[in-house]
């Protein structure tokens, strides 16, 4: 039981974030975009976490950020997993030239750090939250192609696939009936581990101001806004920073547990 404590805490934190983000309008009746009190009030009874430079309620913004930050990085992760997973599946099941070209392209793109690749995509599409999501999604894909291809290859080496080939199954049939169903659990653990990267990526890009709009209640945007008041109001940076770090640590722990469980089989 003691051994699982970090895992339980992590899952607990993720559930809290999920619950709070769903119930956001009920938890706080204030509008996260409008001022409610004097600017730069310190945390007290009301408002609980203080107000920012424009007098907006930080607690409400953190709560709504629980929708935007995990939500947008989840979308980015989903793009990576779908694009990278399909490319890996195609490379692995068609083999030959398809495999060589996909491996070559993804390896070449890996010469650019994922974060920089994402920044380049934002440069092409213009700074907006939507482009940050797309950029982190596609920026992470080259690395994911490599992972999923290795995984599908390992499954293809199994005896039941060989038996299926001997019985006359073609590549598409094997991909749909053997590779995908058997990759389910492993894909889940790879996706969870990648979610941590996507979360770090989106919050870093929004922190750099690449989401464009500085007023949106997103944790990375809020962390950036807090930089201007590190002396007079350090909590402005501390709350979103803690929220980001706790979420990344929790996803990491969950991912580590999932992949350990995979290896245990």
């Amino acid at each position: 039981m003691r051994h699982h404590l970090p895992l339980l805490l992590s899952v607990g934190w993720l559930l809290i974030v999920l619950g709070v983000s769903i119930a956001a309008p009920m938890i706080s009746q204030v509008n996260p975009l409008h001022p409610v009190a004097e600017p730069l009030l310190s945390p007290s009874q009301h408002p609980p976490l203080g107000t920012d430079a424009l007098g907006r309620d930080v607690w409400t913004r953190i709560v709504y950020g629980g929708r935007l930050s995990p939500g947008s990085s989840f979308a980015a992760m989903a793009i990576t997993v779908v694009v990278g997973g399909i490319a890996g599946l195609i490379a692995s099941s068609l083999g030959g030239w398809f495999d060589r070209v996909i491996v070559w392209l993804s390896n070449s793109l890996l010469a650019i750090p994922g974060l920089l690749l994402a920044m380049l995509l934002v440069a092409a599409m213009g700074p907006r939250l939507l482009t940050v999501i797309l950029a982190v999604g596609f920026g992470g894909a080259p690395g994911f192609v490599r992972l999923s291809r290795t995984m599908f290859h390992q499954i293809r080496e199994q005896n039941y696939v060989t038996a299926s080939v001997a019985l006359g199954a073609n590549r598409t049939w094997i991909a749909i009936h053997h590779l995908l169903p058997n990759a389910k659990n492993q894909l889940l653990s790879l996706a969870t581990t990648h979610y941590a990267w996507a979360f770090m990526g989106t919050t870093t890009l929004t922190f750099l101001g690449l989401a464009g709009d500085p007023s949106i209640p997103e944790w990375g945007v809020m962390l950036n806004a807090g930089r201007a008041h590190l002396i007079d109001a350090p909590w402005l940076a501390l709350w979103p920073g803690c929220a980001i770090s706790l979420t990344i640590l929790a996803i990491h722990r969950l991912g580590a547990w999932l992949s350990q469980r995979e290896e245990g089989y």
């Binding site: 092409a124 213009g126 870093t204 990375g220 501390l238």
Partner: protein
């Protein structure tokens, strides 16, 4: 009759040669892919100037002609490659200055930060790795291991800001710390290094655990050599090649880290340049920086392989 040493040096040469060609091809593919991706996604790269009201339609038309953007995409690509080999990465859309000049201006600041950061990364990484392998079962070893885990997980944006807040508080107690070098270089490099240390620590620890099982360690033990010395001298050296390769990769990825660190600490440099160029829609600068990053990554990756080859004689025999 070719002697054994000759044969191994010929083998080494062909391996290095093959590695070199592979590296050049990788860099070329990466550069080409970024070029086409940027043009195909962005459509007209200078349309943003028009929409921001920074130029009149006539001016945009002239600019398009002078940048060669009215030519077919493939011709533009050939021009870009030709320029690239001449060291010409185009001109900034806003200042009209050559991209290469702008980059060279900002390079020293980032190189300084990245090298200092790499030094800290190696220092922390080796220390944490050795401690976590040496004292594996003790609380100290577990602490080192979890610190290494934290280093990889925590975003530089947050650790940087945390460091800055703590530094400001410390400054009140010890005013002596207010040396510009500390705030501008020491602190950012420390936090940048910490972020890269986690991966290095993990590789050092895994490598030590592996090499400690080697027969030469048993032999060293039989000769009565102490545990600590065995670990640091006999086991650490064969565990180093993967650390060297990783460090070279980290060196390239450090550039991505400097983007955040430079923003947090308001330092000038390439990272800052990249962010401002993206926010302004100055695509030639962003493209030039990413292309350079790809080339730098390929070179450092190549050097790492060759260096690993030199450190560990066993690698030479395999090929």
């Amino acid at each position: 009759m070719v002697s054994h040493s000759d044969r191994s040096s010929i083998g080494a040469l062909t391996t290095v040669g093959r590695r070199f060609i592979e590296g050049v091809l990788t860099a070329w593919t990466a550069v080409s892919l970024t070029f086409f991706a940027l043009r195909l996604i962005a459509g007209d790269p200078i349309a943003s100037l028009l929409s921001q009201g920074l130029a009149s339609p006539d001016q945009v038309e002239n600019l398009r002609r002078s940048l060669g953007l009215d030519a077919p995409l493939f011709v533009q690509y050939l021009n870009f490659l030709a320029g690239f080999f001449r060291g010409d990465l185009g001109t900034s859309l806003f200042t009209g200055r050559p991209v290469s000049t702008v980059i060279v201006e900002q390079l020293p600041a980032t190189a300084q930060l990245a090298f200092a950061g790499l030094g800290f990364a190696l220092l922390f990484g080796l220390t944490l790795g050795v401690i976590s392998a040496w004292k594996e079962e003790t609380p100290l070893g577990q602490f080192a291991a979890s610190l290494a885990g934290l280093a990889t997980a925590l975003p530089v944006a947050f650790t940087g800001i945390l460091g800055l807040i703590l530094y400001r508080q410390l400054l009140v107690v010890i005013p002596l710390l207010s040396v510009v070098k500390i705030r501008r270089l020491f602190l950012p490099a420390l936090l940048l290094g910490f972020a890269s240390a986690g991966a290095i620590a993990r590789v050092v620890q895994a490598g030590l655990k592996e090499t400690m099982k080697g027969p030469y360690i048993l032999a060293a033990r039989a000769r009565g050599i102490e545990h600590g010395f065995r670990l640091l001298w006999h086991a650490l050296r064969p565990a180093l090649p993967p650390v060297v390769s990783l460090t070279a990769l980290e060196a390239a990825f450090l550039f991505a880290g400097t983007v955040v660190t430079e923003t947090v600490f308001s330092r000038p440099g390439l990272g800052r340049l990249l962010v401002t160029s993206i926010l302004q829609g100055d695509y030639p600068i962003a493209q030039g920086l990413v292309v350079l990053a790809a080339v730098f990554y390929t070179i450092s990756h190549m050097l790492a392989d060759i260096l690993a080859f030199t450190i560990d004689p066993r690698l030479r025999r395999v090929t």
